[in-house]
């Protein structure tokens, strides 16, 4: 008994103390969040738009939250890899992940097993969008959207429209355009905007369904046939929107942040408030506008409602096309 007391008892006491310590330090009390560094995961490759956006936000986030925010990458399967892993990550608020619409709607809808369901991702905020644009090369025979539609009607399926990825904003934008205008064009997915642009400039695709930042990046190498926004964008008033040309097409990629499904509401609210705050940062706003991003401000409920709305639209479209 004595030997037990001298040997085992100290060990037992020590382990009891250690276990008690486990309660302190990072993550157990949601009200005290954040107490430690936060990992901001980007679901795409470094150097892309999601990466750029995250880096612009990193400074303001660190300041607003009072803790270090570091960026890591988890690219693969157009974001599905990261999002599926998010559903299995600890819901303590110390991992936040960039998420994109319509990707998170379309991937579970169209893929047999994307590894996650749309509703599993708890959306915290949608802070940015990049509207779709339809562009052709500057020397293209299509001067206006009407020319393009007429040519598509004359040769169904012959016109190739390039874009970034499958079941992405570019893809769904093209499908919606086909649906609205009653035409048939062939969508050709490329691994990213970076791969799609040379295809257009080299004349290998007839048109590109891409994003607004390309307007400033490519300048007068392209002609913009339509922009998919409700109202003309600030700085892009020279370019026509689809709506003002009679085609009801408002679509784009939406960027936001999401957390694992069981994350406590207290933490979600805190994060949402933080993102709302940094979205007012003038430096950030200026950078976003320079890149021709559109500022969005959708909190958790709004984002989820918006997602449901778009989901219904896409579902209807795919049913009409017989793709579901």
């Amino acid at each position: 008994m004595k030997r037990f007391a001298t040997r085992a008892l100290p060990a037992l006491v020590a382990s009891a103390m250690l276990t008690a310590c486990g309660g302190i330090g990072g993550g157990d009390d949601p009200a005290a969040y954040p107490e430690g560094p936060i990992d901001y995961v980007v679901a795409f490759d470094a150097g892309g738009e999601s990466d750029l956006t995250a880096r612009l936000q990193q400074g303001p986030l660190t300041e607003a939250l009072g803790t270090e925010v570091s960026i890591s990458y988890k690219p693969g399967a157009g974001g599905a890899l990261a999002w599926s892993e998010l559903t299995r990550t600890r819901p303590d608020g110390y991992t936040i992940m960039g998420h994109n619409l319509p990707h998170i709607i379309l991937q579970p809808m169209m893929r047999e097993d994307a590894g996650y369901e749309t509703d599993q991702l708890k959306q915290v905020y949608i802070f940015q969008s990049t509207p779709n644009i339809l562009a052709v090369r500057a020397d293209s025979p299509y001067q206006t959207l009407d020319d393009f539609i007429a040519a598509a009607k004359a040769n169904p399926g012959a016109i190739s429209v390039g874009g970034s990825g499958d079941f992405s904003a570019n893809h769904i934008g093209t499908l919606l355009l086909n649906d609205e205008a009653g035409i048939e064009t062939t969508y050709t997915p490329f691994s990213g905007t970076g791969a799609a642009v040379p295809a257009l400039l080299g004349g290998h695709v007839d048109a590109l369904m891409t994003y607004t930042p390309m307007i400033s990046q490519l300048g007068d190498q392209i002609r913009v046939l339509g922009i998919a926004t409700e109202e003309p964008m600030k700085g892009l008033e020279d370019h026509p929107t689809f709506t003002e040309q009679g085609i009801d097409l408002v679509e784009g990629a939406y960027r936001g942040v999401a957390v694992p499904p069981e994350t406590p509401d207290v933490i979600v609210e805190k994060l949402a408030a933080t993102f709302a705050e940094i979205n007012k940062d003038p430096g950030l706003i200026q950078q976003f506008e320079e890149q021709l991003f559109v500022l969005e401000n959708m909190g958790p409920e709004e984002a989820t409602a918006f997602t449901q709305e778009r989901k219904a639209v896409y579902q209807g479209l795919f049913e009409r096309l017989g793709m579901l």
Binding site: D45, A46, G47, G48, D51, L52, R55, L56, Q58, G59, S72, Y73, K74, P75, G76, A77, G78, A80, L81, S84, E85, M110, R111, E112, D113, A114, G115, Y116, G157, A158, I159, S160, G162, G165, D166, F167, T186, Y187, T188, P189, F190, S191, G194, A195, V197, P198, A199, L201, G202, G203, H204, V205, D206, S216, Q217, L218, G219, Q221, E290, Q291
Partner: protein, 513 residues
């Protein structure tokens, strides 16, 4: 332009700038040398530091780092058969064989000199030939990318030193592996067996490290005796200057490989990884003694390293001229440009000409700086690794590779993939199937499939879409190159048999096993 060029040179001679280039290059070399830590990742880590720097300095730091990282990948490729990036696959192939023969020092020197010349030629192309080369790169459409991938696959045939059938088996295995995950075009999910982490497919860097390095470690541990030594203890310590002279005695190899690297570098997406393989193949093809390749021929190392450092300058051409990243690190550089409010394209050259030229010259300076840093640091590393006993080397390499595989995507699944492929590759090597064709198939499989499907889709307007693969001028050139590459080993064998009828043993016989 000349005055801008002069301005660029002067700006680079400032001591603070030289220091910046030196630090960038050395840091790049260190990161590039670690298997699994790629140039792209290192650059991504540097980006926050560049926020507070003015644009020219930011770009110079990134450029120097990039140049150093591509060179640094050669160290572990040569010394422990661990290519850190796809750009160093061919370097590992030849360089590691040289290490086994105790010639690792020559390999390191060869890699250094090759990287120097390649880096310089790439920068020369960037400065003087950017606009026409950028225009040229645009002519490559999906059909051409398909043929480039097929051409790359024919390299398997000539690389198969031994049985061509076994090389093809490896290549097909690689192609199969490339199909795992989401299809590049069409988006359907293949062969993931319900594991969502496999949706992204087999990640290239863990696969390469697994296929090349793990079997070596297994061999080290599994077998005993002299041949279990990864490194020949009789490693000769040669004098530096004769080695350098030897490398430069074959200028044609240096220049040709650099040109190949530059030209493939301007092709967005394909360039970086295949440049070193194509250059290696060409060096072997035009060599007077091709049978020494695969057994430790320094010309192979020189060819691979010249080509991959030339892709730095070459890849920068579409990046700066068109705003289209030539290689993944270029995407980061575009990102930094955009963050600083600069827009790549023709106007970058006109409005910020001084920045562009200072940056380009800095790349050249970095290439030059790689020589002393590499010759001193690299050879110190080489001597350290050679001297280390196997019982420290094997676990050390294993730890490095596991960390590297994990670091790519902070994913344990990647580590598992690496180990599984490694064990598989070990058993395959016992059957005579080597890792290089598998890696080639893996890299080129998705490029080929993407090109094929995209080509068919964009040609839907034609009556016969598949015909577009055969009626475009650039495609025809590539097809011709492919045919030549396929047929050459056999033609050469025939020619040698004819010229030496009495004692002929053909260099490449399909029937050998």
């Amino acid at each position: 332009m000349l005055d801008l060029l002069g301005g660029g040179v002067l700006a680079n001679l400032a001591p603070s700038m030289l220091l910046l280039v030196l630090v960038g290059t050395a840091a790049g070399m260190a990161i590039g040398a670690m298997p699994g830590l790629s140039a792209t990742m290192g650059l991504a880590l540097l980006v926050p530091f560049t926020f507070v720097m003015e644009p020219t300095r930011a770009l110079v730091l990134l450029g120097a780092f990039y140049m150093g990282a591509i060179y640094g990948g050669s160290f572990t490729a040569i010394l422990v058969n661990a290519p850190g990036t796809p750009s160093s696959v061919a370097t590992a192939l030849e360089g590691y064989q040289m290490t086994k023969k105790g010639k690792s020092e020559l390999a390191v020197v060869g890699a250094t000199m090759g990287s120097l010349v390649g880096g310089l030629i790439g920068v020369v192309a960037l400065i003087f030939l950017a606009p026409p080369l950028a225009e040229f790169s645009l002519r490559f459409g999906p059909q051409e990318y398909f043929w480039i991938a097929i051409f790359g696959l024919t390299i398997i045939i000539s690389m198969a030193s031994g049985s061509i059938v076994k090389g093809l088996i490896g290549g097909v295995l690689g192609l199969l592996l490339a199909t795992i995950g989401v299809a590049p075009v069409g988006g359907e999910v293949r062969f993931t067996f319900g594991e969502p982490m496999l949706q992204g497919g087999v990640p290239l860097v863990p696969a390469m490290v697994g296929l090349f390095t793990i079997p070596e470690v297994i061999r080290l541990v599994a077998r005993k005796g002299r041949e279990a030594q990864m490194l020949d203890e009789r490693a000769q310590r040669e004098k530096l200057w004769p080695m350098i002279r030897l490398i430069f005695s074959k200028p044609f190899n240096l220049v040709r490989s650099s040109v190949i690297g530059t030209v493939t570098g301007i092709l967005p997406g394909a360039g970086g990884s295949i440049a070193n393989l194509v250059a290696y193949n060409e060096a072997k093809r035009s060599s007077k003694h091709p049978e020494t390749y695969g057994k430790g021929e320094v010309d192979g190392v020189v060819a691979a390293e010249s080509a991959n450092n030339a892709t730095v300058g070459g890849g920068m051409i579409p990046t700066l001229t068109l705003g289209v990243p030539g290689t993944p690190p270029d995407a980061i550089i575009i990102g930094v440009l955009l963050l600083h409010g600069l827009r790549p394209g023709a106007e970058l050259f006109s409005t910020s000409g001084d920045l562009v030229y200072t940056f380009a010259i800095a790349l050249a300076v970095s290439a030059v700086m790689m020589v002393p840093v590499g010759l001193i640091g690299g050879r110190a590393l080489q001597r350290g690794v050679v001297a280390m006993p196997a019982r420290y080397l094997a676990p050390g390499i294993t730890v490095l590779t596991i960390v590297g595989a994990y670091a790519v995507r902070t994913s344990v699944v990647d580590v598992v993939i690496m180990l599984v492929l490694g064990v598989l590759a070990y058993f395959l090597s016992l059957a005579g199937i080597s890792a290089a064709p598998i890696v080639l198939g893996l890299i080129l499989g998705s490029i080929a499939e993407t090109g094929l499907v995209q080509g068919m889709l964009t040609a839907q307007g034609e009556p016969q879409p598949w015909l577009t693969f055969f009626n475009r001028p650039l495609s025809l050139v590539l097809i011709a190159l492919t045919v030549v590459s396929l047929v050459w080993p056999f033609v050469r064998a025939r020619r040698e048999r004819r010229s030496r009828p009495a004692d002929a043993v053909p260099a490449a016989t399909p029937r050998k096993d």
